[in-house]
């Protein structure tokens, strides 16, 4: 079968599978500074040629939900057409004093903390709307945190498919194996969102998981 016919054939099957009116909304979830926006930027740069949001080394840079509509990725002639929902990092605590070490004034730090609390509430609310999730985990940190456990528990309870993205594998202290060993029942894809390393594996996993 010619390539374009095969592609249309697969797309039609895919559309039937997900239902015509059902729009895929893939949420990027995880801790603050796990690299969600860096990954969202890598994906939109790869497939749309433009970034989605600002990144920073200061935690809670993303304090509201950003949405990029109609991103199309293609793997093995299968297209995945979806919206990216980049959410603020989820945490159980926010201390404005932690922002002071990044050079923010006390006023700026307090303002950032207040906005961050609202962002976390918004991120949790979006769990009702996403149809798939990339759980972005910093591979240099302990993955067994309450935020990750809560996110995964809610995704499982709501039957929302998800892929665990073990990010920052370019750093020497990173260990994707630690994440795989803690969550052996889930799909874990090691990547470096910053350098675009292994993103092909991630797109393949997304096509398989979210189809």
């Amino acid at each position: 079968m010619p390539k374009f016919l095969k592609r249309n054939f697969l797309r039609n099957i895919f559309n039937k599978l997900i239902g015509k009116d059902k729009k895929l909304k893939i949420g990027l979830y995880g801790h603050p500074n796990s690299g969600k926006t860096t990954l969202a930027n890598t994906m939109t740069n790869d497939w749309l040629g433009k970034p989605i949001g600002l990144i920073s080394e200061i935690p809670h840079e993303t304090r509201r939900v950003y949405r990029q509509e109609r991103v199309k990725i293609e793997y093995d002639d299968v297209e995945l057409d979806f919206d990216i929902v980049d959410t603020p990092g989820i945490a159980t605590k926010i201390d404005y004093k932690n922002f002071l070490q990044f050079g923010l004034s006390e006023q700026e730090a307090k303002e950032r903390a207040k906005e961050a609390t609202k962002g976390i509430i918004e991120a949790i609310k979006w769990l009702d709307d996403v149809t798939g999730v990339l759980l972005v985990v910093d591979a240099t940190q302990d993955p067994l945190t309450q935020a990750n456990i809560t996110i995964m528990g809610n995704l499982e309870a709501r039957k929302i498919p998800f892929v665990i993205v073990a990010n920052k594998i370019d750093l020497p202290e990173a260990s994707a194996e630690r994440i795989t060993s803690v969550f052996p029942q889930h799909t874990v894809v090691p990547i470096s969102a910053l350098h675009g390393e292994n993103t092909g594996d991630l797109y393949q996993a997304m096509v398989e998981k979210f189809n």
Partner: protein
């Protein structure tokens, strides 16, 4: 806890029986109220994922930047046999919830949790 007694840590141990009749909202209100007062809660069993998300949401609404900076939650799991013992699943044995500025250092290994509480100028160790 008496606010003048800054070097004391109040710990409440709550059995699963005590929470059995409580609604999710009642459980979360009780937890947040106690933790905001500086108490450490040890609960038999755990919260459902929806309750955990609701607890984080409520905590974010209650953070006042100056006095209450949020919570820390840790759980210890236990093996739970089901289907006549044929399959084994992990279930939450106990849940420890406290103010984030008090639960300073927590080390967790399988079947073991160690916490150092930071109480003003002094410290208390719990194992």
């Amino acid at each position: 806890m008496d606010s003048s007694d800054t070097n004391a840590l109040k710990m409440d141990f709550v059995s699963s029986e005590a929470l059995k009749e409580s609604s999710s909202m009642e459980k979360i209100s009780m937890i947040v109220d106690k933790v905001k007062e500086g108490d450490l809660l040890v609960i038999e069993g755990g919260l459902t994922p929806a309750e955990e998300a609701e607890l984080i949401e409520t905590t974010m609404r209650e953070i006042d930047i100056e006095n209450f900076v949020g919570i820390d939650i840790y759980t210890l799991e236990k093996d739970k046999s089901s289907f006549f013992g044929l399959s084994k699943k992990k279930a939450i044995g106990i849940t420890i919830i406290g103010p984030a500025n008090v639960m300073k250092t927590v080390k967790k290994r399988e079947n073991f949790l160690s916490m150092i509480a930071n109480l003003g100028d002094s410290g208390a160790s719990l194992h």
